[in-house]
Symmetry: D2
Subunit: 349 residues, 4 copies
C-alpha cells in the first residue's frame, strides 16, 4: 500500500500518517518527492485496510499496489517518464543513441571516438573510467584520469557523458563529472550502490543483471526511486544463455514488456547483448522496432586494438551506416532519432 | 570432408569414390542432388587427406568443412537459398507472413481465420491438425478432419497451407495436403521424423528446440538435406528462459546469427516466442528489422474462446494493423512484404 | 477429474459414465488398467462437479486432481510404485545400477563390458543399438545387429537389457529384445513414441528433456500410463546449463522433488549429467544420498576408443571402485544395492 | 605467468623483477604472501617468455598459468587449503556445518537458534544482520544491533559467527564481530567489496552468483587472494533455473568440479539451493556424498514466523535428525563431522 500525501501536506500530517501505520503493525517508509510525499508500507501488506488512513488530513490517495515494486510501476504513474541529461538530451521521447568505446584508454582514443560518434549523430558519449572486470589482472580502467578525459571529450564535442560507477565512493567521484551514472549488470543488486545513487540524484542508467527477471530489475530501480531519485533509465543488455555462439542472450522482448509494466524509459545494448560485431547492427535496428527509447552502442576508432570488448565494437564507419538505418526504422514507426546536442535536426529528405 | 561430383558424373564414378573412401577407413554417404551428387564422410574426418580423391574421375571438388554441419553451411553454399511453397510464395526474398490459428477447430473457425489473414495480406495459412500437447488430456487436434478443413480453406482463399507433422506416419498424411510441413520445437531432434521429411521432399519449416543451440538446429536441418531435400526454412520461436513473465525467451539474435552461418531462409515466431498478445506486434516488427525472411503469427477470430494458445493469438484487427506496420519497417530497410497469392502487390503510395 | 470404476465394473457401466461426462460437455478418456478402469476428463475440468457421477453404478471413487498430471501423481496413488525388469531386478526398493557402454560397437566390446559390469555388481546392462546423434554423419548405432549382440550379452551374463528406441517402428523391434525400453532426452516429448510405448506395455526408462520442467516430465510419463502401461521409471540426466565446464547441468534436486510429487521410481544418470569422467563417481554417490532408486552409468572397456561418449565413460576398474562406495553410502542410509541377477547378495561384512 | 620469489627475497630483488616485466611490456602485480612474494603479469601473457626472468636473483620459480585465474588454481598450489575460523573450526578437513536463521530477528530468536544448532552438533552459527533484499520495502536486517546479538550468541554457545557484509563500509563493521564474512550471491562480482575483504584479511565465505560460471567464481576469489588474503571458502548455492518448482537450480556438480580446479575449500547451501524445506535434507546428504567440505543450512526456531526464508528453514528437530544422517554418510566415505567447538568428538559407536 502507498499513501500519497497532498501537495503541500505538512510534516505533522506526514508524521501522523506514519504513526497510524505503525499502530497498524507495519513500518512506514516516507518517500519525499518533488511534487508530493508518498509513504510506503514495509512488510506483507496484502491484506491491509487503508480506509482509515484514506480519511486522514493531508492524504490525497491510498493506492493498493499489486506488484512487489511500487513507484516504478504503471499502476503508480500511468504516464511515461522522461529523463533529461546534459544539455537537452531527453530519454522517453525520440530515440537517444549513446555511443563510444568500452573503456577510456587515452586522450587520443576518446577524442577520436567522441568526434566520430558525434559526426554520425550520436546523442551522448559512453566510455568507462572504472571497469568491472572478471579477472583482477585485466585492465581496470584509467580511473580518475579517465573521468578527466571524458570531461575533455564533452567540452570538445558537446556530448553528455555516460559512465559507470562501481561502488559508493566511486559514485561520488563519477557524479562530479558524468551526466548519467551507469550501474553495470554485475552491480544491479548492489543495494548499497543503488541507495547512494538514489541520494545523489543524478540520472542513472541501470543495466539488467545477467540472471535478473524483469521484476528483479524493477525492484532494483525501486531502490533508487525510494531514495528520492526518479531519473532512472533501464537497460536490457542480455542475460546468461546456453549458446556460446553469442556472449549473452539478448532478451529484446524485455523492452516492450518493461514498457507495459513501468513508466521508466528503456534502452537496449546490442553490443553486450550479442558480443559479436556483425550482430550489433541488426539487433540495434530490432531494438528500435521493438520500441526501445534508446540504444547504447560500443564504437572504437580501432576495435582490433581495444583494451576491452574489441570483438563487439563497431568501426566508426559501421556506426555511421547504422545511424542512417536507425533513422529510417524510427521514421517508419513515427519516431525520430534525437540529434546530437547543439545540432539542428537531421534532414531526412 | 565433402566430395562434390561433377554434373553428369556416372554411377560407376560415384561408386569408385565411395570405395576409395571405404578403403581410407571412413564410411561414404552419397547425397544425390538435382545438380550434382555429393559424398560425405561419416566419422571424425578432421585429419583426412583428400588429395587422392580430388584427382579421381568425375570429382569436381573436395571441400574441407570446418563446421559439424555441412550442406546447410555458407561454406558449402555461399548464395542464399530460396524455398517456394504453393502458388508462388517464396521464402528468401521478400518477407513471407504465415498467419492463422494455433489449431484447426471447426470449418467456420478456420475459414473465418483464413479469410481474415488473407484480407490483411498474409502469404500463407497456418493451423494445426495434429497438436503436440504437454498433457495427454489436452485437445490434440482434429487430425485427418483438420487436414480436410485446411484443404478447404486453401480452396477458398488461395493461401498455401503450413501445418505440423508429429511422426513418420502422420508426415505421410500431412504431406498429401500441406504445402509446407512444420516440425515443432519438441520434435526438432526427432531424427526419424527428420529423415522421413528429407525423403518426402516437401518444403519443411523446422522450429528450433527449447534448449537447442544454433549448431544443434543446423545439424537437425542437415538431417533433412542429407536425405536429399533442400527445401528447409528455419524458425526461431524462443528458448526456455528463467523469467515466467513470458512463455519463452525469444532469441531474436538467432536470426542474423543463422543467416551468417547458413544459406537457408529464417523466419521468426513472435507468438510462441513471447506467449503474450501485447508483445507479439513489437517483436514481429523487431524480427523484420533484424533481417528475418518471414514471420509465423497466431491469429484467431475469437482468441478468448481458442482451444489452445488463446493468450498469444492476435485478434484479426490487430493482425491487420500489424501488417501495415510490417510493410513500413520492411520498406525502410529496402524490402517488401510478399503479397497474398493471386493478388497484386500492395500499393504503399 | 478422474472417475475410478470398481474392480469388475461392466462395460455398460463404463459407457454410461462416459455418456454422462459427454453430456456435461467434457470428453471422457477411459483408461483401462489391470485392476480397474479409470476415466479421465479432457479439457479444463477445474470447476466440474462430479457429485452426480459419484453416485452412478460401478463408480468406486471420483478424484479431483489439482495437478496437470494425474495417474503419475502421489495424489492418485500414494504408495510408491515398483517396476520389475527381466529376472527379478526391481526399481523402487533397493538401489538398481544399470551400467554399460553408450553404444554397442562389436561383439567383443559389449561382451567385455557386460562381464565387467556384472563382475562389479551391476543389476542391468545398458547399450545403445539405435543412437540419436546430433549430426547425421556421426555413428548412428549398429541397429538390428546391435540388438542381437545385446541379447547375446544377456545370455552370457544374465543381466537384463536396457536400450533406447527412437521411433514407433524401432520401438517394436526394441521391444522384442529389451527388458526395458529407454526414451532419450531428445524424445521426451515425442508423444507418438510415448503412446506406442504405452501400448507395448514393456517397462520404460523415460529420460528428462534438456529443457523440461518436472511437470513436463511427469506429463510425458502420463502419456504412457494413459495408454495402460504403468511400468515407468523416470531419469534425471541433466538439463541445459550455461557453464561449458560440464556437458549438462545435473539437476539432482529433481530426485527428491519427483519422489514427493509422483509414485514412480526415479534414477539418475551422472554420466550424461556431468559429461566428465572424474565427476561421475562423486555425483553417483550424491544421487544415492539424495534418494535415487537407481543409477545409469556409462562404462566402456576402452573409453579412449569409444565411438561415442568416451570422455564420460568409466574404466571398468573405476566402476568397480564406485560400486564399493555406493554400497557404503546406501548402507549408511538404510538401503542396499540390488545384486546382479542370479547372484547371492553381496556380503558387506 | 607468475614469478614466485624465494622465501627471503629482498625488496630490491622484487623491484628488479617488476622492472624487467615492465620492460617486456607487461604490468607487474606483486602479491606478497606470508611465505613468499609472487608477481603476476597483467594483460594477455599467453606468449610471454619468462626464461630471462627465471634467471634473476631471488626468483624461485616461473609458473605458466593456463587458466584465467592463478593463485586459486591447483596449478599454482596443488595441496588443498584449510581455512580456520574462531576457536578451531577448520574448513578443508572434516565436514563443517554452519547453521542458523536467515536473519537475526531478536535476542530470543538468535539465542534459541544458536543453542538448538549447537545441541545438534553444528560447527558454526549463521545469521544475517545486513540483508540484501530484492525489494527496498522488505525487512533489511537489524544492522549493528544484529551484530551485537550475534556476538552475544557466540559468548553463550562458543560457536563462531558467519555473517554477511554488503558493502565496503559494512565490511569494516562486520569484520569487528564476525569470525567469517559472507559475500552473498548478488555481490559475487562486487569487486570493490572483494578487494576490501582481501585487505581486511578475515576468512571469507564467497557464494557463487546466480549466473556465474565456475571460472567466474574462481576469478572473484582471485580478487581476494590478489589482495593478500588466502582465507577463502567457496559456496555453491544454486544458479538461476527455469523450473519454478525450486527457488534455484542447485548445481551440486560444482563441488567436485571446483575441487579439481582449485585448492580452496568448498561448501554447499542446500537451503538456498532448493528453497524448499523438504528438499534440504536429501540435498545436504547429497552434498556430503559429492565431497563438499561443509554445509550452510538455515534453521529457525519457528520457521512459520520467520521474517525471511521461512519456507526453506528447517525446524530444530529436523536439523538434529539431519545431523545424524550426515554423520553416517560422512563416515561411510571415511570422513567425520567437525564437532561443535569445545565439545568432545561425537562417539559414533
Amino acid at each position: 500500500m502507498l499513501v500519497v500525501m497532498q501537495h503541500g501536506a505538512t510534516q505533522a500530517q506526514i508524521d501522523a500518517v506514519c504513526s497510524a501505520i505503525t499502530e497498524m503493525g507495519y513500518t512506514p517508509v516516507p518517500m519525499p518527492g518533488e511534487q508530493r510525499t508518498a509513504i510506503g508500507l514495509v512488510g506483507n501488506d496484502r491484506e491491509v485496510d487503508g480506509t482509515g488512513i484514506g480519511g486522514m488530513a493531508g492524504v490525497a490517495q491510498v493506492i493498493y499496489v499489486t506488484k512487489p515494486f511500487k513507484q516504478v510501476s504503471r499502476e503508480w504513474k500511468a504516464e511515461s517518464t522522461t529523463v533529461t541529461i546534459g544539455p537537452g538530451v531527453t530519454f522517453g521521447r525520440d530515440l537517444v543513441v549513446i555511443a563510444g568505446p568500452c573503456s577510456v584508454e587515452s586522450e587520443q582514443q576518446i577524442l577520436t571516438a567522441a568526434r566520430a560518434v558525434r559526426a554520425a549523430g550520436a546523442s551522448a558519449l559512453r566510455g568507462g573510467a572504472y571497469k568491472p572486470r572478471s579477472s583482477p589482472y585485466s585492465f581496470q580502467g584509467l580511473g580518475a584520469d579517465g573521468l578527466k578525459l571524458l570531461a575533455l571529450a564533452r567540452r570538445e564535442t558537446g556530448l553528455p557523458i555516460v559512465t559507470e560507477a562501481m561502488d559508493d565512493e566511486g559514485a561520488q567521484r563519477v557524479a562530479e563529472v558524468a551526466d548519467m551514472i551507469q550501474v553495470g549488470a554485475r552491480n544491479m543488486q548492489n543495494y548499497s550502490l543503488l541507495r547512494t545513487l538514489g541520494r545523489l540524484g543524478k540520472p542513472v542508467l541501470l543495466k539488467r543483471g545477467m540472471a535478473a527477471t524483469i521484476t528483479d530489475l524493477l525492484l532494483s530501480a525501486e531502490y533508487i526511486l525510494a531514495e528520492g531519485n526518479p531519473h532512472v533509465v533501464l537497460c536490457e543488455r542480455g542475460v546468461r544463455g546456453f549458446d556460446a555462439a553469442t556472449r549473452n542472450l539478448f532478451d529484446l522482448t524485455a523492452v516492450p514488456l518493461i514498457k507495459g509494466m513501468s513508466h521508466l524509459p528503456v534502452v537496449a545494448d546490442p553490443s553486450h547483448g550479442t558480443g559479436v560485431r556483425s550482430l550489433v547492427a541488426p539487433m540495434a535496428r530490432a531494438a528500435v522496432a521493438a520500441g526501445a527509447d534508446g540504444l547504447i552502442i560500443e564504437v572504437h576508432p580501432t576495435p582490433e586494438r581495444a583494451l576491452s570488448d574489441g570483438a563487439q565494437s563497431l568501426f566508426p564507419e559501421q556506426f555511421s551506416a547504422l545511424m542512417a538505418e536507425l533513422r529510417k526504422v524510427a521514421e517508419a514507426l513515427g519516431r525520430a532519432v534525437t540529434p546530437s546536442p547543439g545540432t539542428a535536426p537531421v534532414d531526412l529528405g
